[in-house]
Symmetry: C2
Subunit: 226 residues, 2 copies
DNA sequence: CGCATATTCTAACAACCGTTAGAGTAATAG
DNA sequence: CTATTACTCTAACGGTTGTTAGAATATGCG
């Protein structure tokens, strides 16, 4: 039990090494994608692997890393293990990293531009203003993510129609009112596809960049349940 | 110029890879230490290497990485190249990573405990309250960092006495008034040493954990100049 | 110009990481 | 009990990173 007294430099090295564990967890594209998916709610390994388009084995390995850095935690439920973010600060970290990268890295801006075919599709209004418009019923806020993600957390006044069901549930969308569609965040393609479909069918539809993680990290309120 | 249209997955991979560049830059303890030092103001390579206790060559290599991730930028002035954070969001990232690690990683908490010999040394009052106390002159806020860091940015009403000069300038510190000392942040040892010295010399002195980066990231005001 | 100083570049090696395949484990259904 | 599903562990590979030493570059001085 002879605990040798450590020098200032030795302790400092320990401290920075610990913080670097968080950075290391955030240094792999696949792990970041897993974090983004987990921002939408808890998922089992199969769902995560499917959403990130990687093998279950690889997803499992990355989740192990994220768990070791204490960014996610797992919960067994029968045959499945459901992973979730350890707390919403992790979602804030993802939002911050993404924002920093988007602002400073030209390569990312270029890749984003490849995704935006029609820039006029973008809803460029602040969160609070959208909230007011939605409350007054001036716009229809549309959540096109899978139903379980909507139930976990969604924007106030938002209506859930998962992208996969949108074509068959078009009649639920009024033709007169402008639609503002959102999905998992700026890197997600679902809202883009939804807006494409809706405008082809004669609706006035625009896309919103933020997802629930960005919304919450701005301090705006979320709703849960049906 | 035949720009092949990329699939959704290919573009997504590109996007996450770009964000991972930021994470990668933050995945090395030495780079994090360099970022923390740069939170105090711009420095040349020699100063950075000295402060982080690494070789100039290694510091240069790490700075190159940080530059590639667009977290820092360099400016030549005569023989020296001065590096600085690209903007204060980078300092916010450091503060966030540190806070997340401190909250979740038991190993870091254990290492921090090795540094705090007397927990009663800690000043446990919020920023706004300290500001009010300092304005009314009830406490002496003491910045023990090098003078150039004080000039770049310091807490309002703070007085600068660099740690190296503290012993010879003790007479500038009134015996009656409580002293609150701060330095570069929670991982920095300077304020601890200052409090040790001051209490041995009969002053009532406590340490504050935050540095200018943490202070600013809480939205509190800073002062510059002498 | 040549010399000193400050910094970067190149090359090298060991350690580490992402990925895959194959074996292993834990819970459930029959 | 066996079979199935869901996930993890182990081992192995090629590629990347941290670190160091030595050569090279840029600036300023006399």
């Amino acid at each position: 039990m002879a605990a040798m007294k450590k020098s200032g430099r030795e302790i400092k090295n320990l401290l920075y090494e610990q913080v670097a564990r968080i950075g290391k967890a955030a240094s792999s594209p696949k792990r970041l994608e897993l974090i983004e998916i987990l921002c939408q709610g808890e998922k089992n390994v199969d769902e995560l692997a499917g959403a990130a388009e990687i093998s279950v084995k690889l997803a499992s390995a990355h989740l192990k890393e994220l768990k070791a850095a204490r960014l996610v935690e797992g919960r067994r439920e029968g045959k499945n293990i459901f992973y979730r973010l350890v707390d919403s600060q992790v979602a804030d970290l993802w939002v911050m990293l993404r924002a920093l990268a988007e602002e400073r890295l030209l390569e990312l801006q270029a890749a984003m531009r490849e995704l935006v075919s029609r820039p006029e599709e973008l809803y460029a209004v602040g969160g609070k203003q959208l909230l007011a418009q939605a409350k007054r019923g001036e716009v229809l806020v549309l959540d096109v993510r899978p139903a379980d993600e909507y139930e976990t957390a969604h924007l106030p006044y938002a209506r859930s129609i998962p992208l996969a069901e949108l074509k068959s549930r078009l009649d639920e969308i009024p033709t007169g009112k402008p639609v503002v569609a959102y999905c998992r965040g700026p890197f997600c393609l679902m809202a883009r596809e939804a807006v494409d479909l809706l405008t082809r069918r004669g609706r006035q539809a625009v896309r919103m960049e933020v997802g629930v993680a960005e919304w919450r990290s701005q301090g705006l309120p979320l709703a849960t349940g049906e």
